[in-house]
Structure formats: structure tokens, C-alpha cells
């Protein structure tokens, strides 16, 4: 297997870009990531996108975007709800690792604001089981709320136990110029927020917005010519039942646990060697269950990591250093690529006010639906 490196990375600001199209956002990210790299060397384009056919009414996004970018190469869309971008990254990783290609581009793009909220809710709910969950009225947010309600019951916790996740995300988002929400919140504001899907309140729910992020992946041959290449030393994905009621254990994200374990084994490192982490954290409960699945906390104990500041920028396991879903904004299927762009900035020492000191190794994990798909990557400062 060839080693895989990230040569270029860029993203657009996450906003409600009413004046911009999906293509417009995609091209900005592609130009930023490719930079001065010769585009004639690009052998494939993998597009991570969850909602394009329903909200932008456009399929064949691979060829659609490749054509606009002036590329004539293998081009395809990868779809796994919120994990689309991360799974596209894994396809790009596999293309290089297998020796089939030396240069590929991975793009995550989502354009959600062309439709009103009820239509966005309907599109997001496509990531649930259609006959067993969506048909009875469940939304994606409602799915996470069902997990949170049970979690609070089993571990005898108040809803406020999950507030530190959103507070941490907003504290970090304030220092990220690309974030949708660049302001801090506090526990009082969190406690006073109105309900969205009880027990999830407004400040425990991410906002879906528009954005695009891209990375250029290369083999070692090209990595030598790049300043500050970042190595992908672990890549793994797994899946579990979409329908919550069909899972053997409602509060255990099996796919997250399996993909995390596999990625760490491939990287040959212990979880405690990770300097910073990005998770799917549209709600505090998602972050808590992911931390437990990855083994950073015993079951029912993840809220203590947040309460004790372990996940803060200066803590032992900084989480959501660019604001996470809650403050950076929830960019749907583009999220997995955003996470990697943000982590690359950290590993290159380019994260500005949010820089984590001496960051050398990072883990990103992205979930689709309520954790039915999980994709984990481990990135490291490379020596080539």
C-alpha cells in the first residue's frame, strides 16, 4: 500500500449563502485546495454530498462539478447522509493507497438554504429508516433526542449536563472566521433556550448551512514537493442499523466504536496519543456517545470530560477546535471534509487563535444519520 498525504486543503466560510450556488461554493473550495498544484495531474474527483438531489435538484454531482472545474477524470458523488464527505475522503484515500492513483481531489459540498426549513428537515430525515422512522414523523433531530432522553434516564443526569459541549464549541467558533456563529454562549443562555425536540433545546442543536471544503490527496512521490504535507495514517468506516429500535443497544454507537478502533489499529497508536479530536457533534448527546464509543470515557461518564474542561482548547483532548457542528455550522455531507481541513490547519500550526499547542496527531470521526455510518481518519504531521 502507498502512503497517503494531504497536499492542499481549503474551505469556504459556512454561511446562509443565499447569493451563491452549490457550484460556486464548490469551485471556491477547489481553487483554494489545488492552489498552484498542476490540475492536469488530478486523476479523480470524489464529491461528498448528502442533499444535492433533493435540495439542489441536481444529481451526477461528480461529472457536474468536474466539468465546471475543467477536469476530465473519474468523478463521482459519495452519499452516506452526514458522513458523505468523510466517506468520499476514504474513497480518495483508497485510490491512492491501492496504487490506482497518485493525485486525487476530495470535495465536500452542501447547499441547504435554497429550500425552506420544512423541506430541509424532510431531506435530512432521508438519513433515517424510511418505513420505520420517517413515515411515523421522526426527524433527524428527533432521533438524537430519543437517545438523549434515554441517556438522561439511564444515568440519572439533568439535561444541563450536556451543555458544556455547546459552550465549548461556541467558545472555539468565536475564533474561527469561517464559522457560522462567532460568539460565545454560557450555561444560563443554554438553560433558557427554547425546546426544539425535547430534551434537545435550540442551543443544543446545530444549524444547517451552506459550505464547501476540499483536500488534495497525493502519494509520497508528490508529497516530497509539498510544504508541510499531512499524512493520513488511519482510515476506517463501519455501519450499523439505521432504525434505532433495531439496534441491540440504543446508547452504544457500534459503527463509531468499530471504525475508531480499526483506524487506531491501522495507525498503530493508542487513543491517548491523539492531540485533538473532531466528532459529529450536532448535539451534546452525539459528542458524548461518540467519546464513549471511542473509549475516552466509560459509558454514562462522557459529560464529565466536558464539565472538567478536558475537551477545551487547553485540555487533554481538545474537541471541536474550529467550533464543531454547533458554532462552525452543520454543513451536512460536507462536514467530514471540513473536519479534515480544520485539523490540517491545526497540524500545520495555522489555526490562529484556536491553535492547540504542539498538535502532531489528530482524529476525525464523522457520522451519517444517527450514527448508522461512521468514518474515522487519523492524521499526523508527516516526515517525507
Amino acid at each position: 500500500m502507498q502512503q497517503v498525504f494531504i497536499a492542499g486543503a481549503a474551505c469556504t466560510a459556512v454561511r446562509e449563502h443565499y447569493d451563491r450556488s452549490l457550484l460556486d461554493l464548490a469551485l471556491e473550495a477547489l481553487h483554494g485546495a489545488v492552489g498552484s498544484f498542476d490540475p492536469r495531474l488530478i486523476e479523480a474527483l470524489y464529491v461528498g454530498n448528502a442533499l444535492g438531489d433533493t435540495l439542489s435538484e441536481q444529481s451526477q454531482l461528480g461529472a457536474y462539478i468536474a466539468g465546471a472545474a475543467g477536469l476530465n477524470c473519474e468523478a463521482l458523488r459519495v452519499e452516506a447522509a452526514g458522513a458523505s464527505g468523510a466517506l468520499a475522503l476514504r474513497q480518495g484515500y483508497l485510490a491512492i493507497a491501492s496504487g490506482q492513483a497518485d493525485v486525487v481531489v476530495v470535495l465536500g459540498v452542501e447547499k441547504a438554504t435554497d429550500k425552506l426549513d420544512a423541506a430541509v428537515q424532510a431531506a435530512l430525515a432521508l438519513g433515517l429508516d424510511g418505513e420505520l422512522e420517517r413515515a411515523v414523523g421522526l426527524t433527524l433531530t428527533g432521533g438524537w433526542a430519543l437517545l438523549m432522553q434515554r441517556y438522561l434516564h439511564e444515568y440519572q443526569l439533568p439535561a444541563t449536563a450536556l451543555a458544556p459541549f455547546a459552550i465549548n464549541a461556541h467558545a472555539n467558533g468565536a475564533g474561527n472566521r469561517n464559522a457560522l456563529y462567532r460568539f460565545a454562549i454560557n450555561a444560563q443562555k443554554w438553560a433558557n433556550a427554547g425546546q426544539i425536540a425535547e430534551p434537545l433545546n435550540m442551543l443544543d442543536c446545530s444549524t444547517v448551512a451552506d459550505g464547501a471544503a476540499a483536500v488534495v490527496l497525493v502519494s509520497e512521490r508528490y508529497a516530497r514537493e509539498v510544504a508541510q504535507p499531512i499524512a493520513i495514517v488511519g482510515s476506517a468506516s463501519s455501519s450499523s442499523n439505521l432504525a434505532l429500535a433495531q439496534r441491540p443497544d440504543l446508547l452504544w454507537l457500534e459503527a463509531a466504536a468499530v471504525s475508531g478502533t480499526k483506524a487506531l489499529q491501522q495507525a498503530k497508536i493508542d487513543r491517548n496519543a491523539i492531540d485533538l479530536i473532531e466528532l459529529s457533534d450536532p448535539h451534546g448527546i452525539a459528542a458524548a456517545l461518540s467519546l464513549e464509543a471511542l473509549g475516552y470515557a466509560e459509558r454514562g461518564q462522557a459529560t464529565q470530560l466536558a464539565a472538567e474542561g478536558v475537551i477545551s482548547k487547553d485540555g487533554a483532548l481538545p474537541l471541536a477546535t474550529a467550533g464543531g457542528y454547533k458554532a462552525r455550522g452543520d454543513v451536512g455531507g460536507a462536514t467530514g471534509v471540513y473536519q479534515v481541513v480544520e485539523v490540517v490547519a491545526q497540524l500545520r500550526g495555522q489555526a490562529g487563535a484556536n491553535q492547540v499547542a504542539k498538535a502532531k496527531t489528530a482524529l476525525t470521526q464523522c457520522l451519517g444519520g444517527v450514527g448508522a455510518t461512521a468514518v474515522t481518519h487519523i492524521l499526523q504531521v508527516a516526515e517525507v
Partner: protein, 131 residues
């Protein structure tokens, strides 16, 4: 209009038809054998009609099909035979709900589909009226 789908799902939605394994496990809905399973390992089985509330949420931001309802309450019910099922809850307010309370199934309208406003019915759950 997805009439064939509504017709295909009538056993599942009107009669809570699931399956029971020879070892006693129950699952919902009826489904083909998984890889590695014998085709006859699971037999048709009608689920229990009562159970207890396992989890619930009151959604205030809903899809367009449910726009007419300010709150949609959805729960997971653990049926008396051990099977979990996700369903809309009816005849109750969020303030009445607590995990562990007794629930029972009823058949109610799920809404209208298609240009001709075909009325679709199916299972919902409500707090149990009589022990």
C-alpha cells in the same frame, strides 16, 4: 402517489406483523433472512399490543407533511414481548409522559399522500387506558 407501497405495508402497519425466531427472539417488521440465516428461521408473528415507554421526544420543528401539527410526539416503546418499536404517540401531552409508563397501540390516520389525498392509516401508541 405510492399506492403499491401503502398496500405492501398493510400487514406491518395495520396488524403489527413481525417475526419470531425459533429461539424466542422477536423482530419488527417482517424481513427477509439475513445472510447466514436459514430461510425458515423466522416465522410470522403478531407483536404484543402493549408495552412501556422506552424513550420519547416532542418535536417542534417538523417536516412539511406534519406542518399542521405544532408538536409531533415520537416514542420508542418496549413491547411486552421485548420488541422495540418507534411510533408516533397520540392522545397525550408531553407533560404526561415518563419513561416506563404503560402504553397501548391504536390504529390512527398517518396523514394524506399523493394528489388525491389518499388517507393512510397505521399504528400509533397512547398511554394505556386500562391495566
Amino acid at each position: 402517489m405510492n399506492l403499491p407501497k401503502q398496500w405492501r405495508l398493510k400487514g406491518q402497519r395495520y396488524r403489527l406483523e413481525g417475526q419470531r425466531h425459533s429461539d424466542g427472539r422477536v423482530r419488527f417488521p417482517a424481513q427477509p433472512a439475513k445472510l447466514g440465516e436459514a430461510n425458515d428461521a423466522w416465522q410470522p408473528y403478531q407483536l404484543a399490543k402493549t408495552g412501556e415507554l422506552f424513550s420519547w421526544t416532542a418535536q417542534r420543528s417538523n417536516r412539511s407533511e406534519f406542518d399542521h401539527e405544532p408538536i409531533v410526539i415520537v416514542g420508542i416503546i418496549k413491547l411486552a414481548d421485548g420488541c422495540l418499536i418507534t411510533a408516533q404517540l397520540t392522545d397525550c401531552e408531553p407533560s404526561e409522559l415518563h419513561i416506563g409508563m404503560a402504553m397501548e397501540t391504536v390504529t390512527r390516520s398517518w396523514g394524506k399522500v399523493g394528489e388525491d389525498d389518499l388517507l393512510v392509516y397505521g399504528y400509533k401508541f397512547r398511554p394505556q387506558l386500562i391495566d
